[in-house]
Amino acid sequence: MTNPAILRADAETLSAPFPRLLAAAEQLASTVLLGDHGRRRAGTGDDFWQYRPAQVGDPVRRIDWRRSAMADTEFIREREWQIAQSVILWVDHAASMGFASKGLAPKSDRARVLALAVSILLLRAGERVGLTGFSLPPRAGENQIERLAMALSKDSDADFGQPEARGMLPHSRALFISDFLGDPAPVEAALQKAAERGVGGALLMVLDPEEEAFPYNGRTIFESMSGALRHETLKAGDLRGRYLERLAARKDLLQGWARAAGWQFHVHHTDDGAQAALLWLYGAMEAR
């Protein structure tokens, strides 16, 4: 039997970062002005899109008689297509995301804030946002923000995260945020699976500047965040070039896979502003 007091304390501990995350995401999201979010095409929706001459095969009841009365031909009033899009997120919460160079926030913070902010934007635009897997299916509405925030606040002990490709609705959109420094095979598998289901989306690679620069020298033992992986070198400076090559290769790999799957790929550094990344994310989610 769970002691209610312990449960509550755990819950409070768990929810402690939540308002902060939420507030940061709200603040970030508020910087993006919501403009016209129509699909720029005719479809089912509430807003007027255009009048077009009726063609053969159009149901008669769709003729807009008021407009047709002004001319000799019949017009059909088309409404802008508005359809709730499902967006599913996967945010890496493995230990590697907890890395931070001096003076900067951990990568996971930035990843979560960005994920939540883009979620807020999407939710406010009427989309449905959820997480991959089956823990939090896409839903619309403001309440989903809180549920997302709650779900994103979880951490994992694993060194590197693997994308969760299950639970992707066909033709939905997906957003994977990670440092993608671990084994790339699951990413490829997830992308393949997504492509099969017609899921488009974006990969956001969040890196710390130190990971990009490798400013190390001398005899060093590199350890993964959990200490499971370690690599000892006598001259760290000599490794720099080859490390950077490998990092570039990893980016290229991801870029190639993303392109093949019809996804978009972007690298974000934690010392850059979050807004640019948010704008890019939002655009990527809007893109078709």
Binding site: Y216, N217, G218, R219, F222, E223, S224, L234
Partner: protein, 918 residues
């Protein structure tokens, strides 16, 4: 101790550790630095990346060198290096430190003792027993070896003897060591060769090794003075001196006030390579008689002091005869033989008794004078130490003085008439002399057989007669009688001073008798015959350092010993007093010979320089620590840990310590300028002018100090660019034609200074060539310089200006030149005219901020280091008067600056008193 050049090592085996350094180098290069653990997510990308080189990231070579040096410093440091280690004595044999111990070592005695002390230090370190001995030490018995420490405690008791060890001393010492076992010898030699030296050297060498120590400094000595041909002849010796040298001889004695002082000096000039030099002093007798000793200035040894006994002393003898009217009969003159006897050795004076007494002679000789004029005065003079020598004669025999009662100026009562023996009208033979008794001052004088007495005055039989008789005739009648009166004496020769009554004056005995009575000076060197049978007591001694001190104890010295004139342990140098005269025994005898000691080549001769041992351990370990600190910082820097706030803090703290402290310099100027009144002068950049300014201010300051209650300190130079001016009440500013103009800030400071009550005396120093305001270069420069200054309208000093009466009443203001008028702040236009009956106007308050002139005051005031005026002013008395007025102007100026218009306010005093009265 193992030594390497000038450095020795106490623990040389540790140096083997240096061999390990190259090995350590290899190891240090092979062993990688401690790894740094880093959490890094990108490690997944690194997996499988091998190092291209198997060796580690090398420690930079310079860091390696640094560490090696630090390690080497530690090894060398712990090996206890010593700079200038004292050479190790071989062997464990006892050590004999032998000093000559004579006066020749006295000038370097401290160095010698220091050297002996270090030698004893060494010996104590090695645990060798030591004996310290001096050849001059009159000890007997075998030398004893003791611990070095016990000798070190007694070292202070060794002083140089005021004599040199003679052959006997060498032999005696050789006897002292004869029974001792083997030992090594350290011979602290004075570098003089003398007989007995070689024998002792052999004896010592038989016992062990010898090291000799000599000072390279020259030894100076002075021989006893000789008085020849009216000159005081001086002979100096030097040993080991090369090149020309001049040594000053000081003649010391008491001045008329009784104070010991240098009465005269002469210079002994040693020519290049010469070891002897002579000089002569010509002195008036009064001065010459006062000389008690000659010393070589700056040489502290008994050899540099020679006492002058009676040899220099020329007695003043006054001669008076009862009757000198026998013209042409010189040989019958009662004084002729006395004069002949005394002229070579005494200064004769004659005249009336009252005049003679004023001259205070040593001896007054009265030849056949019956009635002594000024008798009380003469008696008083005798009482104070005079010697009254009377000769009999017809007058004395005929007079009735001293017959009934004893005349105080005669030693005995006389019988009337006297007697004559061996004459035509008498029986018997002329009488000869009886040998002198041991109590007589004439004891020991040979009696010539041809001395005959034909007439004499007779003494009344008296209980005291025998005691007073110092010479008598063969029949026992007194010939010479003596009576002590106070400190002096009255002596009567019962015969005449001429050959009338006896042949005594014709004989050499007469002269000798006069000498014995100290009526004439003794000959330069007392002969053995002179001294035989006499006993002398030391009055003064000379110690080895040449200090003369009164002898308090000491047994009598036989005259025979004194006659040798050679100072020794038995006859320490000094002044020996006999009955009536004194004989000096000097450390350096007459005709002295000094030979340089030539050591055999096998003996090492070292100097006295003590090379101080300097343990280097601490320094080297410190250097090692410093290297390690550098290594520490360098390692931090290399590993990229030299950034961050803490480093900056540390750097800031270090920088704060290293910041120059300019503020303090300004403070010290302020302190010296404000603790006393200070006259300032502005630096012009021309060193000559600045120097004159400085000397001028010093001269003015001195005048102020002497004449007024203003007592300025040393003047200070003021740089208007950098120095704060507010501390100076008065600035002297000589204007030169090419003076750089002050900067804007300096002008601001000058203006502030002038507003604040300061005064600047501008001096263009060209009053001799230029009329003021005309086109002299300095005047033009002054105009340029003064343009930015805040100077009020000027006028030539009006007659009633307070400067004319601030201390002295003045109407002229000359400096070195009597130039154009001097300008001061003009009186305001509103100044009222002088009130009737008042000599000056009632002017405004305040001090004129500038005084402008061209009279070169500083030159008139300038004094050099010795306090003499540096420049001539004008000519003759008028010039000195001008300088005086210039000084008075300076005094007035400073008074005006310091007391403002106080003197102007004085005019109100009558009015104030008037009001107070009501």
């Amino acid at each position: 101790m193992w030594s390497l050049g000038p450095i020795g090592f106490a623990a040389p085996w540790l140096l083997l550790g240096l061999i390990a350094l190259p090995i350590l180098w290899l190891i240090l290069r092979a062993v990688p630095p401690a790894p740094i653990r880093r959490r890094f997510p990108g490690v997944a990308l690194l997996l499988g990346l091998g190092d291209e080189e198997t060796t580690t990231d090398r420690t930079p070579w310079w860091l390696m060198v640094l560490r090696m040096l630090a390690l080497a410093a530690a090894i060398v440091g712990f090996a206890s290096p010593v700079l200038n280690p004292q050479a190790e004595e071989n062997g464990r044999a006892p050590l004999l430190v032998l000093m000559d111990g004579g006066w020749a070592e006295a000038p370097t005695w401290a160095a010698r003792m220091a050297r002996v002390d270090t030698l004893l230090d060494e010996a104590s370190r090695e645990g060798r027993p030591v004996a310290v001995a001096a050849l001059t030490d009159p000890q007997i018995g075998e030398i004893t070896f003791q611990t070095a420490e016990s000798w070190q405690r007694r070292l202070a008791g060794f002083v140089p003897a005021p004599w040199l060890p003679d052959e006997g001393a060498h032999q005696a010492f050789a006897a002292r060591i004869a029974g001792a076992g083997a030992f090594d010898t350290l011979w602290m030699s004075d570098g003089l060769d003398r007989s007995g030296r070689a024998a002792l050297l052999d004896a010592l060498e038989a016992k062990g090794s010898i090291r000799a120590f000599e000072s390279p400094r020259p030894v100076y000595a002075i021989e006893p003075v000789r008085f020849e041909e009216g000159e005081v002849r001086l002979t100096g010796h030097r040993l080991r001196g090369a090149g020309p040298a001049e040594v000053t001889v000081q003649a010391q004695g008491r001045d008329p006030a009784g104070i010991e002082r240098v009465l005269s000096t002469a210079t002994l000039s040693f020519e290049d390579g010469a070891d002897q030099a002579g000089t002569a002093l010509i002195l008036p007798p009064e001065l010459r008689n006062r000389i008690t000793r000659m010393t070589l200035a700056g040489v502290r040894s008994a050899g540099a002091v020679t006492l002058t006994d009676d040899g220099l002393r020329r007695r003043e003898v006054a001669l008076m005869a009862g009757q000198e009217d026998r013209e042409g009969l010189q040989l019958l003159s009662p004084l002729h033989y006395l004069e002949q006897a005394l002229i070579p050795t005494a200064d004769l004076i004659d005249g009336a008794m009252s005049d003679i007494l004023l001259a205070n002679p040593d001896v007054i000789v009265l030849a056949d004078v019956a009635q002594v004029s000024d008798a009380p005065d003469v008696l008083d003079w005798v009482d104070r130490g005079g010697t009254l020598l009377r000769f009999a004669g017809p007058r004395l025999a005929a007079a009735d003085i001293g017959q009934e009662n004893e005349d105080p100026l005669l030693p005995v009562r006389l019988r009337a008439g006297g007697r004559s023996v061996g004459g035509a009208m008498s029986w018997g033979e002329p009488k000869s002399l009886r040998a002198f008794g041991p109590d007589s001052p004439f004891f020991g004088l040979a009696l010539p057989q041809d001395v005959q007495i034909t007439a004499q005055v007779l003494a009344q039989p008296d209980p005291a007669l025998a005691e007073r008789t110092i010479a008598s005739l063969a029949d026992g009648t007194p010939l010479v009688t003596r009576k002590r009166v106070g400190e002096g004496q009255v002596i009567l020769f019962h015969v005449t001073a001429n050959a009338e009554w006896s042949t005594l004056p014709l004989s050499g005995l007469f002269v000798e008798m006069l000498e014995r009575l100290a009526i004439s000076s003794r000959p330069a060197v007392p002969t053995l015959e002179d001294l035989t049978g006499t006993t002398w007591v030391a009055a003064q001694y000379v110690d080895g350092f040449g200090e003369v001190f009164p002898a308090e104890t000491g047994s009598g010295i036989a005259g025979e010993a004194l006659a040798t004139g050679r100072a020794s342990a038995d006859l320490p140098p000094g002044l020996y007093a006999g009955e009536d005269r004194s004989v000096a025994v000097n450390a350096v005898p007459r005709e002295a010979k000094f030979e340089r000691m030539l050591w055999p080549a096998r003996i090492v001769v070292e100097g006295l320089d003590v090379v101080q041992e300097l343990p280097l351990k601490g320094y080297i370990l410190m250097a090692g620590m410093a290297l390690l600190l550098i290594d520490f910082v360098a390692s931090l820097w290399l590993s990229g840990r030299m950034t961050g706030p803490r480093t900056q803090t540390a750097a800031f703290v270090i920088a704060a310590f290293l910041l120059p402290t300019d503020a303090r310099a300004q403070d010290s100027l302020a302190l010296s300028a404000t603790s006393e009144v200070v006259l300032g002068y502005v630096l012009t950049g021309d060193r000559q002018v600045d120097r004159v300014s400085e000397q001028g201010m010093r001269g003015l300051g001195r005048t102020l100090f002497q004449r007024t209650s203003v007592e300025p300190a040393e003047p200070l130079a003021v740089n208007v660019e950098t120095d704060e001016l507010a501390f100076f009440p008065f600035l002297y500013w000589p204007v030169t034609a090419n003076q750089p103009a002050p900067s804007a800030e300096a002008y601001a400071r000058l203006n502030r200074y002038l507003r604040g009550g300061g005064m600047i005396l501008f001096d263009t120093r060209d009053g001799d060539t230029a009329r003021f305001g005309a086109t002299s270069p300095a005047a033009r420069r002054l105009q340029e310089l003064a343009r930015p200054l805040d100077i009020p309208p000027l006028e030539p000093i009006p007659e009633d200006h307070v400067l004319t009466r601030a201390f002295y009443l003045l109407q002229d203001f000359p400096g070195r030149y009597m130039g154009p008028p001097v300008w001061v702040e003009a009186a305001p236009a509103s100044a009222q005219d002088a009130v009737e009956g008042m000599p000056f106007r009632n002017l405004n308050d305040g001090v004129t901020p500038v005084v402008v002139g061209a009279n070169d005051w500083a030159s008139a005031w300038a004094v050099d280091g010795a306090g003499n005026w540096r420049f001539r002013v004008g000519s003759g008395f008028a010039g000195e008067r001008q300088r005086e007025i210039a000084l008075r102007f300076g005094v007035n100026l400073v008074m005006h600056v310091l007391s403002g218009n106080y003197k102007s306010d004085q005019v109100h005093v009558p009015a104030l008193l008037d009001r107070l009265g009501q």
